[in-house]
């Protein structure tokens, strides 16, 4: 049995909360959380430190509410999905009829890496639909960039307000949203000449190019992970894409950026990269691993072909 607005709903009930001040957020969050505790449902908070503190205070430190540490879990969308699915499966196995979570993305995620977090917000409508989850994602109505809010409205089927709940008119099914052509903004490093350009490389020569470009200043393991990712992506391009496959590589002091493009339409699976496999399409696992191993991955679907950009290192904020 599910309590509240999601009663009778099957699967994931995914809401956005737009607030202008902390009180507006609390006006939605507190009844949501206390309602979950009263119904005996696993009730969790995945808010940043400041908002979590306010919620704790406003709910009188209610012991029925669990506070999740963000940290590594939110480092990458594919990791967050993997961790949340495991968490949700655990609660369902333990007999939960519904699970409530209120969370927020950190403002740095609205920067250069927003594209994969918008894909995350869309994909979870599918990825968490296996579970009786009711979640709210909090966004500041004024401080969140306009283009981000537009995509939030398109990826959250519901909006929670102090007075109640309403459907989001621009909501777009993930299978459609994720297949749209949304060319990502160039990394500024791409304005310079690539240090490596290869046409139809074998995976081994692609790997060698990455190793040779290592500036030696990236965090430990970042280059090793990029070597694995580039190998997987070039393998996919050769196996499932359409030649010519082009690899370009830029190296800066703090990051290496690699693009791999081919003339094909890209993966047919809309969730490719964010979920390990959703329809058994070949190649899905390599792209998913890449999303786990790189610091940023963009997918660029166009009429003229498909391109992936992989980044190791670098600041995720700007």
């Amino acid at each position: 049995m599910r309590s509240g607005i999601a009663a009778g709903h099957t699967g994931y009930f995914h809401e956005a909360v737009y607030y202008r001040c902390a009180d507006e957020l609390l006006a939605v969050a507190v009844p949501f959380l206390l309602g979950g505790v009263a119904a005996g449902e696993p009730t969790m908070v995945a808010l940043g430190e400041e908002h979590a503190g306010l919620v704790r205070e406003a709910t009188g430190g209610n012991p029925g509410i669990t506070y999740l540490a963000g940290g590594e879990m939110y480092a990458r969308p594919a990791s967050a999905i993997r961790a949340y699915r495991a968490l949700l499966a655990g609660h369902v196995a333990a007999g939960a009829g519904q699970i409530r979570i209120i969370g927020e993305l950190s403002p740095w995620m609205f920067g250069r890496t927003w594209d994969w977090w918008s894909r995350y917000e869309s994909a979870i409508n599918h990825a968490y639909d296996d579970f009786p989850l009711w979640s709210m994602c909090a966004y500041h109505a004024e401080q969140t960039p306009e283009h981000v809010l537009r995509e939030v409205a398109r990826t959250h089927p519901w909006v929670a307000e102090p007075g109640g709940h309403r459907p989001s008119p621009s909501y777009t099914e993930p299978a459609a949203f994720l297949m749209e052509s949304r060319p990502p903004a160039d990394d500024p490093i791409q304005r310079g000449r690539p240090v490596v350009e290869l046409t139809d490389p074998l995976p081994a020569s692609a790997r060698q190019a990455v190793v040779a470009a290592d500036p030696g200043t990236l965090p430990a393991g970042a280059v090793d992970n990029l070597v694995v990712a580039v190998s997987e992506i070039v393998t996919n391009a050769i196996a499932y894409g359409q030649a010519p496959v082009r690899l370009r590589l830029w190296a800066g002091a703090d990051r290496i950026v690699v693009t791999v493009s081919d003339q094909g339409p890209g993966p047919k699976d809309p969730y490719a990269g964010l979920l390990p496999r959703s329809d058994g399409e070949p190649g899905g696992l390599g792209l998913w691993l890449t999303h786990q191993l790189c610091d940023h991955v963009t997918l660029d679907r166009r009429d003229t072909g498909f391109a992936i950009r992989l980044t190791a290192g670098g600041s995720t904020a700007d």
Partner: protein, 272 residues
């Protein structure tokens, strides 16, 4: 420690070594084989050249070799160049027996340089011969027997040469990866595994008799430079079909992460 990887000079090879030696002209084979066998004689091993009549003639023009043949330290075997049949068991028994006799006669080991192109030129022999190479490699890893298996490039398809190279720990031409025996009876895998090696890997694994200790199949991956997720799944299946846990000996940290992400519960990494 066995010599592994690409070896430019046969003089780098010693007891227990097993090299795949490709050549273009018979003279190239002869030069390498003579140097390899001279090394064996210098170490007090019994040596054997197996090749064409011309190969043998060229060898025997060296007075030291002729004397070694006369006193039993060297053996010259003419390989029938029209030979079509190959029997794994017979060949293996011959190597074992020759090594044991050499030791019994007071030599420190047994060393062979053989042009075996004629045997594998017959396509139906290839799979059996590769299997033989893998079995004899196990014997070499444990006993003082070493060999230089020579193949003439022009006479064999590149796929056959790649397959042969992949089951020798060493060779004069590069191989993307190599599977071979360790002295402890275990199996080592070296090099790079990716989409370009997937067929070769499956073929090579088919001939591996893995060492299974307490339900664990240990692969020495200390010289494995790279493995992609597909090849890792192939290794995992190889162990799973034998009902064992796969243990990869490696210091590569990215492997543990891949195993974790792929949720391969019956695969683990063990540092050296």
């Amino acid at each position: 420690m066995r010599t592994t990887g690409t070896v430019a000079d046969v003089r780098a090879l010693g007891p227990h070594d097993h090299a795949c030696w490709t050549f273009d002209e018979p003279a190239d084979f002869q030069v390498a084989a003579h140097a390899f066998l001279r090394g064996g004689l210098a170490m007090g091993e019994r040596v054997c050249l197996a090749g064409s009549e011309r190969d043998i003639e060229a060898w025997l023009t060296d007075g030291r070799v002729a004397r070694a043949v006369a006193d039993g330290a060297a053996i010259a075997n003419v390989v029938d160049q029209t030979r079509r049949s190959f029997d794994l068991v017979t060949q293996l028994d011959l190597c074992r027996a020759a090594t044991e006799v050499a030791l019994a006669d007071g030599y420190s080991g047994f060393r062979v340089a053989a042009d075996v192109t004629a045997v594998v030129r017959e396509p139906t022999n290839l799979a059996e011969f590769v299997r033989y190479e893998q079995l004899v490699d196990r014997y070499m890893a444990a006993e003082p027997f070493s060999a230089m298996c020579a193949f003439r490039r022009a006479d064999l398809p590149s796929t056959a040469l790649a397959r042969l190279a992949s089951v020798h720990p060493a060779g004069n031409s590069g191989a993307p990866f190599r599977i071979f025996a360790n002295p402890d009876g275990g199996t080592a895998i070296a090099g790079d595994l990716d989409m370009t090696t997937s067929d070769l890997l499956c073929a090579a694994l088919a001939g591996v008799e893995p060492l299974i200790v307490r339900g664990e199949l240990v692969l020495d991956a200390t010289r494995l430079a790279f493995i992609d997720h597909r090849s890792l799944l192939v290794l995992a299946r190889f162990a799973a079909t034998r009902g064992t846990t796969l243990v990869l000996r490696t210091r590569k940290p990215h492997l543990s992460r891949l195993i974790d992400l792929l949720e391969l519960r019956h695969v683990r990494v063990e540092g050296e």
